[in-house]
């Protein structure tokens, strides 16, 4: 029997503004593991030294009821200043960056360069037998790029995780 909760799952991107202090990431991550919520992607960096705040972007797949819980539970954490469910809040942009190391010779090497060109990936390092491409796009675009470049000698991938921001003139914080 298929679990009905899986069918009902949606992918949401949360922006979490937190105090830039020791342990805050552990609190957020611990909340997800302790309550059994999924983390598909997580990024964190300090964004304002003066206000001492960091911004965490979390992508999670869950049922609507759990997504509501995630927002409420994050809001309970004392160092959390604001939580925005970007996916629910309105039109938004997602970006992720990937660095890909490709090792190949001859035809495959040329094809790899062509694919990178089609995707507007940047070549940021090259040797006689390898390239490193930098590629930014949505999570899905990166998946597509990775899929195409894999048979052409892809040996290593590193991804930044998803960043999210609401479209338009208003700031969330």
């Amino acid at each position: 029997m298929t679990d009905p909760t899986i069918i009902n799952q949606q992918r949401h991107v949360f922006s979490v503004i937190v105090d830039d202090e020791p342990g805050v990431l552990a609190r957020v991550v611990g909340l997800f593991s302790g309550r059994g919520y999924n983390i598909d992607s997580l990024t964190v960096a300090s964004v304002d030294k003066v206000k001492a705040i960091s911004r965490i972007t979390i992508v999670s797949c869950a049922t609507p009821q759990i997504l509501e819980q995630i927002e409420a539970q994050l809001n309970r954490l004392v160092p959390v200043r604001k939580v925005v469910d970007l996916t629910s809040a309105g039109p938004m942009l997602e970006r992720e960056t990937a660095l890909l190391k490709v090792n190949s010779m001859g035809e495959k090497r040329i094809e790899a360069l062509r694919i990178a060109d089609v995707f507007h990936a940047k070549t940021i390092d090259a040797t006689l037998e390898s390239f490193i491409f930098e590629f930014s796009g949505t999570n899905e675009e990166i998946n597509n790029f990775v899929e195409l470049i894999t048979p052409l000698g892809l040996i290593e991938v590193v991804r930044s995780g998803v960043l999210g921001i609401a479209r338009g003139s208003k700031a969330i914080f």
Partner: protein, 599 residues
């Protein structure tokens, strides 16, 4: 007058600084703390030195750090104030963890100071070092590691604010030993406001009005009240009583909320949930409007979720937004302080000149009274052997008219205490509801007794639970605390045995305690009074003797029926209307496969 030898400016400023340990004591004093519970050790010696040099704050020396947290919980729950704990690093902190988790699940305000190895040794696996903030992160509302004495006062005042604001809970402050000895600036509570943590307490008026309209239209209503009313303060209990009188609706409560509404009131239908009364559970099951005031739809209360009050519209008032729609989706959610919410409801009710639907309500009460007539708490009496329920009935009757604070351990005796003891006032009932911590009751009774000298404080206990924190007898003797420990001794871990009997084919795996101590001698060995009742005839005399003890703890070993089970009971995974009332009904056929995995 000539100032011939002015101090250099820098020196004068340095004089204003006091060391971390003194900052701590000063901050506690300014927070109005009069009692702290603790246990010394290497990493908190400077703080103990500061405590030694003053007389405003009384330190209660417990016998194990877990006892300190439960005692602080008992103190907090019986006074409404923040309980304060002081323990050392490493094992001091880890021993406190159970108490912290307990306070988190029951929303009890506690501030716990832990010593830590000096800053430069953190992370070096130093003696008695543990990652206290790491370990306590998931079992506290918030925690701090303070690495600078200048920040200590701010952190302490913030911690008290966090512990008592919104949904209360435990807060840990971990202080390395070098910080305790370093000079730092002091700030008073008035100089510290939390920059961001300001929970919403004012309910939304629009939601209140919609709720009151729904309440007024109800034909089969019920007030489902919880620990939130107790935490909100005595005003909330008063408002609940007033609103219940205005409407004439029945009132039930969770384990945590007992006392918010008087058990002696005719509108009281008893506690609900797994071991709640028949009438409370069926009233919940059949209601058309449920007014949840400060309760959280706990699994002990709801039973099978898909059949929980299936024909009802639900109003849910909770100060914690994450409690709303967590397990039960409600029609009118109201986030805010429950006392304020009820007061606003009363105002709207009066302004709109609402009145209850008298005909429907009379019919509803007739139905409820029919359920009541089943007398679900009845048990088979005996004149040879003491039934645990009988022991509590006698305790209830003989303490009538005496202001009594009740604590419990965890298990059958806890449920019987909830069913049989009459709670008419808030803050007089302390039990480990959420975490279900055996060993809670004795230290909690010590905390309550310290807060209420001269009052009757009884720990209703089981012989298994009491052994989990029995060392606190020594604390009670040291401070001449006349706490009463009323042990319903059936020689079994009663609730474990009950489940094994009902669900696991009577295979009593490890639930019998084959080598119990002689509790009378045990009490005497600690320097307390030990009494025993073996037959129903002896019971009254023993209870009276117990109540006469006023200068030391008293253990009463009540030898009760080994076989007695706690009813009524909703089998795991079943709905409110599927409860069983006595052992005459076969429970194994009542427990569905899904129920076997539930606790």
């Amino acid at each position: 007058m000539l100032n011939i030898n002015p101090k250099p400016k820098q020196q004068a400023e340095h004089d204003k600084k006091i060391n971390g340990a003194d900052i701590l004591v000063k901050a506690l004093r300014d927070q109005g703390v009069d009692t702290i519970f603790g246990y010394p050790g290497g990493a908190v010696l400077p703080i103990y030195d500061a405590i030694f040099k003053q007389n405003d704050i009384r330190h209660i020396l417990v016998r194990q750090e877990g006892g300190a947290v439960h005692a602080a919980e008992g103190y907090a729950r019986s006074t409404g104030k923040v309980g304060v704990v002081l323990v050392t690093s490493g094992p001091g902190a880890t021993n406190a963890v159970t108490g912290l988790a307990d306070a988190l699940l029951d929303s009890i305000p506690v501030v716990c100071f832990t010593g830590q190895v000096p800053t430069h040794l953190i992370g070096n696996d130093a003696f008695q070092e543990c990652d206290t903030t790491g370990i306590t992160r998931p079992c506290t509302k918030h925690n701090y590691l303070v690495k600078d004495a200048n920040k200590l006062a701010r952190v302490i005042h913030e911690a008290f604010h966090v512990a008592r604001s919104g949904r209360p809970g435990p807060v840990v402050i971990d202080i390395p030993k070098d910080v305790q000895l370093s000079p730092g600036d002091y700030l008073s509570p008035a100089q510290v406001t939390h920059p961001t943590y300001q929970p919403k307490t004012m309910p939304d008026m629009d939601a209140i009005e919609r709720a009151v309209d729904l309440i007024a239209d109800a034909e089969r209503p019920i007030f489902y009240t919880g620990g939130g009313i107790i935490n909100s303060g005595p005003r909330a209990s008063e408002a609940l009583r007033k609103f219940a009188k205005l409407t004439g609706y029945p009132v039930t409560s969770t384990l945590m909320g007992l006392g918010a509404f008087p058990a002696s009131d005719p509108q009281w239908v008893g506690m609900l949930g797994m071991h709640g009364t028949y009438e409370a559970n069926l009233t919940m099951h059949g209601c058309d409007v449920m007014i949840n005031l400060g309760a959280r739809f706990d699994d002990r209360v709801t039973g099978k979720l898909s059949e929980f009050a299936p024909h009802s519209k639900k109003i849910h008032v909770d100060i914690d937004a994450s409690s709303i729609n967590k397990t039960v989706v409600v029609d009118i959610p109201i986030v805010g302080d429950v006392g304020t919410a009820i007061e606003m409801m009363i105002k709207v009710w009066e302004k709109k000149k609402h009145s209850a639907n008298k005909t429907a309500l009379a019919k509803w009460w007739a139905q409820i009274n029919e359920w009541r007539a089943r007398k679900c708490l009845a048990y088979k009496k005996s004149d040879k052997i003491i039934k645990p329920q009988y022991a509590l009935e006698r305790l209830r009757d003989l303490t009538k008219g005496t202001e009594t604070f009740i604590t419990t351990e965890v298990g059958q005796h806890q449920m019987w205490a909830a069913q049989f003891m009459p709670f008419d006032e808030p803050n007089h009932w302390m039990t480990s509801g959420g975490l279900g911590t055996m060993g809670y009751g004795l230290p909690a009774a010590i905390g309550a007794q310290l807060a209420h000298p001269g009052k009757l404080v009884i720990d209703i206990a089981g012989e298994a639970s009491i052994l989990m924190n029995i060392q606190e007898m020594s604390t009670a003797v040291q401070y001449r605390l006349p706490v009463k420990i009323f042990i319903l001794n059936n020689q079994w871990m009663g609730m474990v045995r009950q489940w094994q009997e009902l669900i696991h084919g009577g295979r009593y795996s490890e639930s019998y305690t084959a080598a119990l101590p002689d509790f009378v001698k045990l009490a005497e060995a600690f320097g307390g009074v030990g009494l025993r009742a073996r037959t129903p005839d002896e019971l009254d005399g023993v209870i009276k003797q117990m109540m006469a003890v006023n200068d030391r703890p008293c253990i009463v070993d009540v030898c009760v029926d080994e076989k007695e089970n706690c009813y009524p009971m909703i089998p795991s995974g079943r709905a409110h209307n599927e409860m069983i009332l006595s052992s005459d009904q076969d429970i194994s056929s009542k427990t569905p496969d899904e129920g076997l995995v539930l606790v």
